[in-house]
Amino acid sequence: MYVTTIAGSVFAESAQTVALLLAFLTPELASRIQFGWAITIHIIFAALSVGLAPFLVYFVVQEVRTGEERYARLRKFWTKIFAVGFVMGTVTGIPMGFMFGTNFATFSEVSGELIGGPLSFEAKMAFFLEAFALGILLFGRERVSDRMYALSAFLVALGAWMSAFWILVVNSWMQTPQGYELVMKEGVPIAQLTDPMAAFFNPRFPWMYVHMQNAAVISVTLLVAGIAAYFIWKNRDSQVWQTALKVAIVVLLVTSIFQVIHGDMYGRHVAETQPHKFAAMEAHYETGAADLHIVAIPTELEAITDPRADNLYTISIPYLASFLAEGDFTAEVTGLNDFEYESPPVAWVFWSFRVMVGLGFWFVFLGLWGAYRLWRGGLYEDDRYLQALMLSAPLGFVATITGWYVAEIGRQPWIIQDVLTTAEGVSTNLGSTEATLTLVGFVVGYVLLFGVFLYVFRRILVEEAERQGTGTEDRETPESPGVIADD
């Protein structure tokens, strides 16, 4: 009942808000916010799926290979999280595909030949595989052989990674489109596929795929590390969570350093292919040599919503942005004022970029700190480090989301770079009322959904903590035959 009461009062308030919003939300703006909001929540679960799957493979393989209880415990714990995340990922992911048709119908018509195919390949190659293998991973421990069980974990991971592959084929094509030809069909320009290899493996694709997948792994690694730190902090001798922490630190060290190096090279590629996005990342308005602002602090409120290098208190390295863009310290970087089309929302891009990069360096630091402790000893007694990990547990997801904002908001006003603007891509028959109504539905619905996810997550944590408290965690827990559940 309490859930319905909350839902009821939220509904009443939403009705008022809708009336207010209708006054100024155009179908275009509502559609953009709706898509952006939906992906903000979806990307958390997508990253959870992509990043956690390799950990599950490792735990299952170790469980099967060594027969040690600690790996079984880790597998059970993380499979539960994975299962809830997967349901949330499905629930939040399916609408994204349909939104292409509902909200961005013109875009779907123009680019159908290029993106319809990859989306259907994703369904055929990835979704079926993942759903099938997950059925076995979650419910089949007692029904299939060890080998088949380990295989199912691997196939779940393969499915998740292939799914991201095709989605990023679509997205990267929108950033650097090629392999097509524009033809007029009944008065509408249609991007006709001429070269699938060029279109799918467009210049942006490898950059985006590597960066995004690695971001997902880092996000989950920090989550694993943070939760392991929490349980170790509560019970220093937990073999189970010591194992998890060690694995996480090694993975974090490698992936976070790689991400910084890769990110730097990726930035250069963006400067070449989407100069306006690069300019927005540095709030660079006037064409000329560009400085790199390592730290930027707004000195007045206006600078938050309209960051311009002069309005900010910055610690900058002169000419470095020029070097990053062109490999030359004196290179001219085109400023936002000199593009023929409107600028993207600079504030979002500028601040998102800073949050992402700042967090990226923080993760490298955490990785180095942990590696040092692992090498010199005292890892499980270093309270300050354990606390830093606990607080950092959700930060990988924050970095992933802000990185996504840089990529997506930074490409505006284009929905397909230099081909179609977002405003042109929106469904022509979409009304303001409908668009606003569903936007409010998504905002309210996904807030509730995310709240439920956190509640369930917390409950899984509490259960594990109780198991630790009773000291049963490292002993063989007797299980009745055929029962997978351990609660």
Binding site: M1, P95, G101, A105, G116, K124, F128, F132, F139
Partner: protein
């Protein structure tokens, strides 16, 4: 391979029609498989706690794979007929989101009911599961009918009648599936409900055809034609087989019978639609299909992966064959 792909001709001349067929097959696969789940969710409404756990144990391992058929349907339509995808979804804007909401309630309800320990939590998510399982087939049926009939809104007599038909059909499918997955008293109760639903389905289907005849004069020549008779005959034979098999505890045959009813239904949908792919704007298959290269490419993927998908389903359903046990829930 490259030569094959750079072709400006379709691999076979009738490839656009074959893709129309694939859209229909995906829709039919979805109706059959998620129909099991929707029916299970509707029958769940008045089951007791232990029966509910058995039902969820039957539902858990397969529903995600079943639901992917909806995504397959959507993306196959998008890949072959993007204009139809765009028009159809933007035209039925609110309905599409209502369907997604219903599907979400169904998926979340089943998963989350076990993740909390207080009674209200469990009841709340149970209610979501039942409501989602009932509204999903109704709204999907109305959506597809509105597409096929070319009505501007799904809340017209034709689509509403079709929606109700699909709900009745899902109960039959759910009962057939549960025949394989349950035992004892629950199995008998469910089988009885399934037989009742078959009667209801037949009546509602006939009423729906009458509604279509009355409200859609343009369809009359199609309705009064041999294919309609064929569909009626196949439906009658399948329904008889289902009732017979269900009463004699021959559960595999019962699934076959229910599947026959569903197949006849989808075939009729395709018959009413063809050769148009979007009657509301008068688009034919030839108008709406993508150019040869992307369709050839998509065909190669389809030919490669459809057998693989068939293997997944064979393995999945055989790993989890036989009656489910109420203890056999994941969480």
């Amino acid at each position: 391979m490259t030569e094959l792909l750079s072709h400006t001709e379709y691999l076979v001349d009738s490839l656009p029609e074959l893709w129309f067929g694939l859209v229909v097959v995906a829709l039919g696969g979805y109706l059959l498989l998620d129909g099991f789940d929707f029916g299970l969710g509707i029958l769940y409404a008045d089951a007791n706690e232990k029966e509910r756990q058995t039902m969820l144990a039957a539902f858990g391992p397969v529903w995600k794979a079943n639901e992917v058929w909806l995504v397959l349907f959507g993306t196959v339509l998008f890949a072959a007929f993007p204009v139809v995808y765009a028009n159809l979804l933007s035209r039925h804007y609110l309905l599409v989101f209502a369907i997604l909401l219903a599907l979400s309630l169904r998926g979340l309800g089943s998963k989350l009911r076990g993740e909390g320990d207080d009674e209200r939590w469990v009841r709340f998510w149970d209610a979501c599961f039942v409501v989602g399982s009932t509204f999903s087939p109704f709204l999907l049926g109305a959506f597809v009918a509105s597409w096929v009939l070319g009505t501007p809104s799904a809340f017209a007599p034709g689509p509403v009648a079709v929606g109700l038909t699909v709900v009745a059909l899902c109960v039959v499918l759910g009962a057939a599936f549960l025949g394989l997955k349950t035992e004892g008293l629950l199995r008998e109760t469910v089988a009885r409900r399934g037989r009742m639903a078959t009667g209801v389905y037949t009546v509602v289907l006939l009423a729906t055809v009458a509604v279509l005849y009355g409200f859609h004069p343009e369809l009359r020549p199609k309705i009064v034609a041999t294919p309609t008779l064929l569909v009626v005959a196949v439906t009658a034979a399948s329904a008889t087989a289902f009732v017979y098999a269900s009463a004699r505890a021959r559960y595999r045959l019962a699934v076959g019978g229910a599947g026959g009813i569903a197949a006849a239904f989808v075939a009729y949908v395709a018959y009413l639609l063809y050769p148009s792919v979007d009657p509301a704007v008068g688009l034919s298959i030839a108008d709406a299909v993508v150019s040869p290269l992307p369709l050839n490419l998509a065909s190669i993927f389809a030919v490669t992966f459809l057998p693989v998908i068939a293997i997944y389903f064979t393995v999945l359903y055989s790993v989890f064959s036989g009656p489910a046990s109420p203890e056999e829930s994941y969480s």
